[in-house]
């Protein structure tokens, strides 16, 4: 079990990266990657919210939705759980850890509409029906994968933003092409697992 857990986590971080091979969470990936500091803030906030939301969505799905046989409402239930968790997290962090709040605070509200959070909860809890430990581990690993991807992109963007490129490629288009090259590199790692 430990071996398969490790391989699942490795896949979640690298070869099956949430952004570059599953195409989830691309909006913040493109939007918040202009500076290294802000991309790190976003990445850590995503790990944080993903870990907590995986715990709560697993509990809600297995102890509320399934016994009541209303599991078809999972989308609505999960998004409400995530939205309220983000709100509560923001309040708690603001009250008890001002330093953490100043680092993550701006990014927390944006995370509600980050589809990586809902997508990971959906795939781990509903589509794959992992057990509790697996769900938590995969969610944390997915968050780490997001942090990894967004940090790397931010580093590359420092260069591409100053490079002399055609005007129509400035901004989002060149970022998308950069992301494509990164996706190719990440896909190469899938050979390790096979």
């Amino acid at each position: 079990m430990t071996a398969s857990l490790i391989s699942v986590m490795f896949a979640a971080v690298i070869s099956n990266n949430i952004v570059l091979s599953q195409y989830q969470g691309i909006c913040p990936f493109l939007g918040v990657s202009k500076k290294i500091s802000s991309s790190a803030g976003m990445g850590f906030a995503v790990i944080f919210v993903m870990a907590i939301s995986s715990v709560f969505t697993w509990l809600v799905y297995n102890y509320i939705l399934l016994p009541l046989e209303i599991d078809y409402l999972y989308t609505m239930a999960f998004i409400l759980v995530i939205a309220s968790l983000v709100q509560v997290t923001e309040m708690v962090v603001k009250r008890y850890s001002p330093t953490l709040y100043s680092a993550l605070g701006v990014y927390l509200p944006l995370i509600t509409t980050n589809c990586a959070i809902l997508g990971t909860a959906n795939s781990a809890v509903v589509y794959n029906s992992y057990n509790f430990v697996y769900t938590f581990a995969v969610s944390v690993a997915t968050g780490v994968g997001f942090l990894f991807a967004i940090l790397l992109l931010a580093c590359v963007r420092l260069k591409t933003d100053r490079a002399d490129i055609p005007k129509c490629f400035k901004g989002f288009p060149i970022t998308l092409v950069t992301a494509a090259i990164m996706a190719l590199a990440f896909a190469g790692f899938s050979g390790i697992l096979a």
């Binding site: 091979s21 997508g119 998308l176």
Partner: protein, 225 residues
């Protein structure tokens, strides 16, 4: 209804505020669900449906929803329609549904829908809001179909599932990376066309109104001689 406002809303959604190429919202389905034209079209129509009805209901309820809890209210309204789409697709299009399942559920967190709810439906009348939903939705569908056509052609040498003789499939183009590349290049093309149009407009303006913009000096001295 005011004709000018209708025109502005429709043109705005299709070109000026095109959700994919100009606002760059909802990029996840734009890249994930465009490997073929059929998939792209289905995704676009599903999003348009949710957009129209969520805009309508949010606009109808805009005076009842308290400002502080508006986001959760919007999310409940949106997720209701997403659940409806999910169920209908599962029943009537099982083949397409099996490949699109993950992203149908993720329409809830598509930023286009929440952005239109927040910036348009919450402060406009129901009919205008529906119209805005239609035009933004069609702009999104159009962009998705365009990317879908290009990717299907490159990867399989086919158009809408029918293979074109003489165009061999390119291996690896169906892979994940090409979603990013095709989207990036099409966005650059869109920017290029808009840029050229604007340059031309500026030139026309400069030719028609040289004096009013103070670009040509008055000819007083010449007249005196």
């Amino acid at each position: 209804m005011d004709k000018r406002k209708i025109k502005e809303t429709v043109i705005g959604g299709l070109i000026k505020n095109n959700p994919t190429f100009v606002l760059v919202l909802g990029t996840c389905p734009t890249i994930a669900m465009t490997t073929s034209l059929a998939q792209a079209f289905a995704m676009g129509i599903a999003t348009t449906f949710v957009l129209i009805f969520s805009n309508l209901f949010i606009s109808l309820l805009r005076n009842l929803i308290p400002d502080k809890v508006r986001i959760p209210c919007y999310i409940v309204i949106i997720s209701t329609f997403v659940t409806i789409v999910d169920m209908v697709m599962q029943r009537y299009m099982p083949d397409l549904y099996s490949t699109m399942r993950a992203f149908i559920a993720l329409i809830v967190v598509n930023c286009i829908i929440l952005a239109r709810a927040e910036s348009y439906a919450s402060c406009n009348k129901p009919l205008y809001s529906m119209l805005d939903g239609v035009s933004i939705g069609l702009g999104f569908t159009g962009a998705l179909c365009l990317i879908g056509i290009v990717r299907e052609f490159l990867a399989g040498g086919a158009f809408a599932g029918i293979s074109i003789p003489g165009y061999p499939a390119m291996s690896g183009v169906g892979a994940s990376a090409f979603g990013f590349i095709v989207f990036g290049c099409l966005m650059a093309l869109f920017n290029f066309v808009i840029q050229k149009i604007n340059e031309r407009k500026d030139k026309m303006k400069a030719a028609v109104l040289p004096l009013s913009e103070g670009k040509v000096e008055p000819l007083k001295e010449v007249a005196e001689k």
